[in-house]
């Protein structure tokens, strides 16, 4: 139906055309219909395009035939429109172009066009080339394009086309080039495309959502020279039928989910020059039949799961330039036949399971620039003849089991840029010839058994950027000539047997970023000149015999990230200049003889996050308060020194996850932070004067040594003395959900008379309370504000029952749901202000506040009196001061008999336990009762207080 419709539209336009010609001849100059159709392009151009776009497109011309990019037939019909790389800036392709029925060529590539491809283009029956590539076209490929019977070239690549490939494209029987790559096409490849027998190029790669299998019917496309489907999600095996593609030159199918094995039939694709099957899931062996590919120049099979041996037949591919079989599970030996590949430039067999020796024959591959056999199990020695590879630029043999010595013949490889023989069993010395290579940039010989010294001739190799010789048995002194290597960035000499002094000339290597000489026998002082290495990021001098002080010049190393000086013989104090090391994340000076105090400047190292280790030295004095600046520090080790004083300040290091302060002379309470609670006693070991603490301020031995003392009677006594203190405590919490509402009330009432806690904790459903959410909301007005909590305002509210409560409003959630918490201001636990969950521990806090009020005679908040501190802060402050603890007690109580005062002090300790700022550190109500029961006083006092236990009736809610 559609096709018929298109034809009729076409004939309609023809008649228009005829009329236009007639009118032109008879009367005034008027633009042809083809010209008008073309003008639709300009009309569609968004205003953003330059005004001078296509100046030759003059609508007063009778025909568009002189316009830029337009070609006409002798009859004046437009047969070609070609405006590639023109900034048309169209938001859509005008469908009017479909009326150009004589059009044979339409090229609008790279013209900044978006929008969809008009389905009406199917009417362009004469079109032979349609190129809309490299635009921003979206939508799907219209199936109507299948009607363009003359089409030979269809290029829609590099757009944002989506949807699947229409099977109707199979009707384009003249099609020679089909480029759909680099789009967002999905679905699978229609098997019908196997009927495009004229097709020479078929490219659908770079469509990451294209999935399914490769249709075997594609094997019918015997004219194909290029097949590309890389970077897709195609799966399944490569059909054996692809072996019929006898004209195929490039087969590109990498980075897909293709599995199965490489079909031996591909050996019949005798024109093949590029076979790219890397980064797939291909298994099985490499078919020897590939050796029949006489024109093959690139064979990339890396990054699959290929097994079995490397077929020597590949040596018959005499045109091979690049052979990459790395990152597979190939086994067996490297075939010596490969030495016959005279044109081979790159041989990559890395990361396989290859065994045996390196074939000497490889030295016949005189074109080789890259030979990479690393990460295998190759053994034997490195063939001397490798040295005859004059073009060799990179040689990677690391991670094998090669033995013997490094051949001096490497000195002939004058183009060598990177030489990595690390992690083998090489012995002997480093041949000086290597340092004659004036292009060598990377020399990595890590992890062998090399002996001898590092010769002064190393300085000849001025091109060196990375010199990494760690984990060998090199001995002698580090030559001072090394300072002449002006391009050296990494210098690794660690874990060798170097002796003597570190030459100060190293400081001349101004670009040096890494200096690692750890685990040698280097002695003498650390050259202060090292402070000149302004680019140094990592300095590891550990596990040597360096003596003397840490040079103050180290303060100049402003890029230094890690500094390790551990296990040397360093003395003196830590230089104050370390404060300049503003990028330092790790400082390890452990295991030396450092003395003096820890400088307060340590606190300026705010980037110190990983570790500060000053253990096993002879440091004295107290931990400087300034260390509290290290808020991001995660590991601190001060063990094994002679440090003293309190450790309160360590409680401020909130990022700590490891701490060791054992074997010192620290004293006083251990901070009561959650982190300190998790530490085992090993962290404090052998500090006889450190004491555990409930609150972090006082040793629990001061207050609860006689354990948790606390006679209920004492509190009762206190209560009696206070007389008629009316305490009303209401804690209500309420959460308002979007869909449902609930309020619960927990009430504790402490009546003034008789200290009779007869009312249990109650939990009353919202519905049973005589107020609604709206009642509550009414009270949230400025005139009711009575204070400001940690994260919100506190309001006064009177419930319909007459109780006064405090309401707290959190500003954090304005959307959908509100979280509002109510409680008596002054008694609510701090977590009400900032957290989401109110627990029984919040009530314990409130109870602690009540106890403190009783004992101190102060109200929870005394805004009018003196410091106006909250009672908890007030008590903490008092306890932290030098005043005797008894000053906290209500003056009326202080005159009582000493045992009673002692008991009240014990009760004070329990109260402080209850008001710990961390809910998890507070005791449960049960524990509080138990603690109170244990408050002891001398036996003779018992008879004097006979009132009922004060707390008997408090039930744990």
């Amino acid at each position: 139906m559609r096709k018929a419709g298109s034809i009729s539209i076409g004939s309609l336009f023809l008649s228009f055309f005829a009329m236009a010609v007639l009118s032109f001849i008879s009367t005034t100059v008027s633009l042809s219909s083809d010209g008008k159709a073309l003008l639709s392009l300009l009309a569609a151009a968004s205003t953003g395009s330059s005004p001078g776009l296509l100046p030759s497109w003059d609508s007063s011309h009778p025909t568009p035939c002189s316009w830029q990019g337009v070609t006409c037939s002798p009859q004046g019909r437009v047969i070609s429109l070609s405006l590639p790389n023109t900034f048309l800036n169209l938001t859509s392709i005008p469908p009017e172009l479909s009326s150009l029925t004589s059009l044979q060529l339409l090229n609008l590539s790279s013209a900044n066009i978006s929008g969809a491809i008009p389905p009406s283009f199917g009417a362009l029956a004469s079109l032979r080339l349609l190129d809309l590539s490299s635009n921003a076209l979206s939508g799907s490929i219209p199936q109507q394009l299948g009607a363009m019977a003359s089409l030979q070239f269809l290029l829609l690549n590099s757009n944002r086309l989506s949807g699947s490939i229409p099977p109707a494209l199979a009707n384009l029987t003249s099609l020679q080039v089909l480029c759909l790559q680099d789009n967002l096409l999905d679905g699978s490849i229609p098997s019908q495309l196997g009927s495009l027998l004229s097709l020479q190029q078929f490219r659908i790669g770079g469509n990451p959502y294209l999935s399914g299998r490769l249709p075997p019917q594609l094997g019918l496309l015997t004219n194909l020279t290029t097949f590309g489907a890389a970077a897709t999600s195609l799966s399944g095996a490569i059909p054996a039928e692809f072996g019929n593609l006898v004209n195929l030159q490039t087969f590109s199918l990498y980075d897909t989910d293709i599995s199965g094995s490489v079909p031996p039939e591909l050996g019949s694709c005798s024109e093949l020059t590029n076979l790219y099957l890397h980064m797939n899931k291909i298994t099985g062996g490499i078919p020897p039949q590939l050796g029949k590919l006489q024109k093959l120049t690139s064979l990339l099979l890396w990054g699959n799961s290929l097994t079995g041996p490397i077929p020597g037949d590949l040596a018959n591919c005499s045109e091979l330039v690049v052979l990459d079989l790395s990152a597979n599970r190939l086994s067996g030996e490297v075939p010596s036949e490969l030495g016959g590949l005279a044109l081979l430039e790159q041989l990559h067999l890395s990361d396989n399971l290859l065994t045996g020796g390196i074939p000497e024959g490889l030295s016949n591959c005189s074109s080789l620039t890259a030979l990479q056999l690393d990460k295998n199990s190759l053994s034997g020695s490195i063939p001397w003849h490798i040295g005859s590879l004059k073009s060799l630029q990179s040689l990677f043999l690391w991670g094998n089991s090669l033995s013997g010595t490094i051949p001096r013949s490497f000195g002939n490889c004058t183009e060598l840029y990177a030489l990595d023989l690390s992690k083998n069993r090489l012995t002997g010395t480093i041949p000086e010839e290597i340092f004659g290579l004036n292009k060598l940039s990377k020399l990595l010989l890590l992890g062998n058994s090399l002996t001898g010294s590092l010769p002064p001739s190393v300085a000849n190799c001025q091109s060196l950027v990375r010199l990494r010789l760690g984990e060998n048995q090199l001995a002698g002194e580090v030559p001072r000539e090394i300072g002449m290597l002006q391009n050296l960035v990494f210098l690794d000499l660690y874990t060798n047997h170097f002796t003597g002094k570190l030459p100060p000339e190293i400081a001349n290597i101004t670009v040096l970023e890494l200096l690692d000489v750890h685990n040698n026998h280097i002695a003498g002082e650390i050259p202060p000149q090292l402070g000149d290495l302004m680019n140094l990021e990592q300095l590891d001098l550990s596990e040597n015999s360096f003596a003397g002080g840490i040079p103050a010049s180290f303060g100049n190393l402003s890029y230094l990230n890690k500094l390790s000086l551990k296990s040397n013989l360093l003395t003196g104090s830590l230089p104050r200049s370390i404060r300049n090391l503003q990028k330092l994340t790790l400082l390890d000076a452990s295991g030396n003889g450092l003395s003096g105090r820890i400088p307060p400047e340590i606190g300026s190292l705010t980037s110190l996050t990983i570790s500060l280790n000053l253990s096993s030295n002879r440091l004295v004095g107290e931990i400087p308060q300034e260390i509290s600046g290290l808020t991001r520090l995660q590991s601190l080790d001060l063990s094994g020194n002679m440090l003293g004083g309190g450790i309160q300040v360590l409680g401020l290091l909130t990022s700590l996850t490891f701490l060791n302060i054992s074997i010192n002379n620290f004293s006083g309470p251990i901070p009561a932070t959650p982190f300190f609670r998790t530490l085992s006693s090993n962290s404090y070991l052998r500090n006889p004067d450190l004491c555990p603490s409930f609150d972090g301020y006082t040793c629990s031995s001061d207050l609860v040594p006689r354990a948790a003392i606390r006679s209920i009677k004492t509190v009762a006594l206190a209560c009696a003395v206070l007389g008629s203190a009316a305490l009303l405590f209401v804690a209500t919490w309420m959460l308002v959900g979007r869909n449902r509402k609930l309020a619960a009330e927990k009430t504790v009432t402490i009546p003034s008379s008789g200290c009779d806690f007869s009312h249990p904790w109650t939990l009353i459903p919202f519905q049973k309370l005589n107020f609604t959410v709206d009642n509550i909301l009414e009270w949230l007005k400025d005139e009711n504000v009575i204070g400001k909590g940690c994260s919100g305002m506190v309001y006064k509210a009177e419930m319909p029952g007459g109780e006064l409560i405090a309401l707290m409003s959190s500003p954090n959630f304005h959307h959908h749901a509100m979280s509002r918490i109510a409680g008596s201001y002054g008694y609510i636990a701090p977590e009400y202000g900032y957290t989401t969950k109110i627990t029984e521990k919040s009530d314990v806090y409130s109870y602690g506040v009540v106890l403190l009020e009783i004992l101190s005679g102060r109200s929870a908040i005394e805004p009018m009196v003196g410091d106006s501190l909250h009672i908890v802060e007030w008590v903490k402050k008092k306890m932290g001061s030098l005043e005797p603890a008894v000053n906290i007690l209500d003056p009326k109580l202080r005159g009582m008999q000493d045992p009673m005062v002692q008991e009240m002090l014990q009760a004070l300790g329990i109260a402080m336990f209850c008001v710990n700022s961390s809910p998890s550190e507070r005791p449960t109500m049960k524990e509080v009762v138990a603690l109170l029961m244990e408050v002891k006083s001398p036996p003779e006092e018992w008879g004097k207080t006979s009132q009922q236990p004060l707390l008997m009736s408090v039930k744990h809610g």
């Binding site: 790395s326 990479q372 979280s819 957290t835 809910p919």
Partner: protein, 213 residues
């Protein structure tokens, strides 16, 4: 997206010339990741694939057995995605990738980092959900994912992270309600600020936690 070069021989040669290899699996994982990152300031240039182990690479810290315990590449102007391979660093304690341009999802494989103490991914452009697999991070104390574009609800599985002390999920696009159990009882509400679709604390038993997601 639409410009993946296909059939470009020179690109192929480049790819072929840089196989991502190393002698130890952890270095291999790290290098495979590094190969896909954009590192305009060469922060990772020391990540030499041919090294015996990654312990001398800058920004990598190992324990005494040469196992990677820290990755410190915060504030480094790096772009790319966070690789699932990082989940293979089984002794990793600190994963510090904050304030970069990391995009894409947080790989669920990070849940395999059983020794992890701190995960700081804040200040990136990460999308998708917070992986439920994080529930396996039993040693985790610090989890900061703030200032990203994370969406979905806060996985309830996180309430079992009993060691979690610091959590920051603010400035994302999370939805649903905030858990109140386990360590969540102690987190300040500021940890959840600026998630416009987040509905405040969970009302247990009343409303599904992912309502509005």
């Amino acid at each position: 997206m639409a410009s993946l070069p296909v059939l470009l021989p020179c690109l192929l040669l480049l790819l072929a010339a840089s196989p991502a290899l190393s002698t130890n699996p952890e270095g291999e994982a790290l290098h495979a990741w590094r190969a896909r990152l954009t590192d305009p300031t060469n922060v990772l240039q020391s990540w030499d694939p041919t090294l015996v182990n990654p312990c001398t690479w800058f920004h990598v810290t190992c324990d005494s057995q040469n196992r990677v315990i820290r990755l410190d590449v915060g504030n480094s102007n790096i772009s790319g995605s966070i690789a699932p391979e990082l989940g293979r660093l089984e002794r990793l304690q600190y994963l510090e990738l904050y304030r970069n341009n990391f995009q894409g999802k947080i790989p669920a494989e990070l849940g395999n980092l059983r020794s992890l103490i701190s995960m700081d991914l804040y200040g990136n452009q990460l999308q998708g959900e917070i992986p439920k697999s994080f529930a396996k991070l039993k040693s985790l104390r610090f989890l900061r994912l703030n200032n990203n574009r994370l969406s979905g609800s806060i996985p309830r599985e996180l309430v079992f992270l009993s060691n979690l002390k610091v959590l920051d999920l603010s400035n994302n696009d999370l939805c649903g309600t905030i858990p109140i159990d386990g360590p969540f009882a102690n987190f300040p509400l500021q940890s959840f600020d600026n998630n416009s679709r987040l509905n405040g604390p969970e009302l247990q038993g009343l409303v599904p936690y992912d309502i509005g997601c």
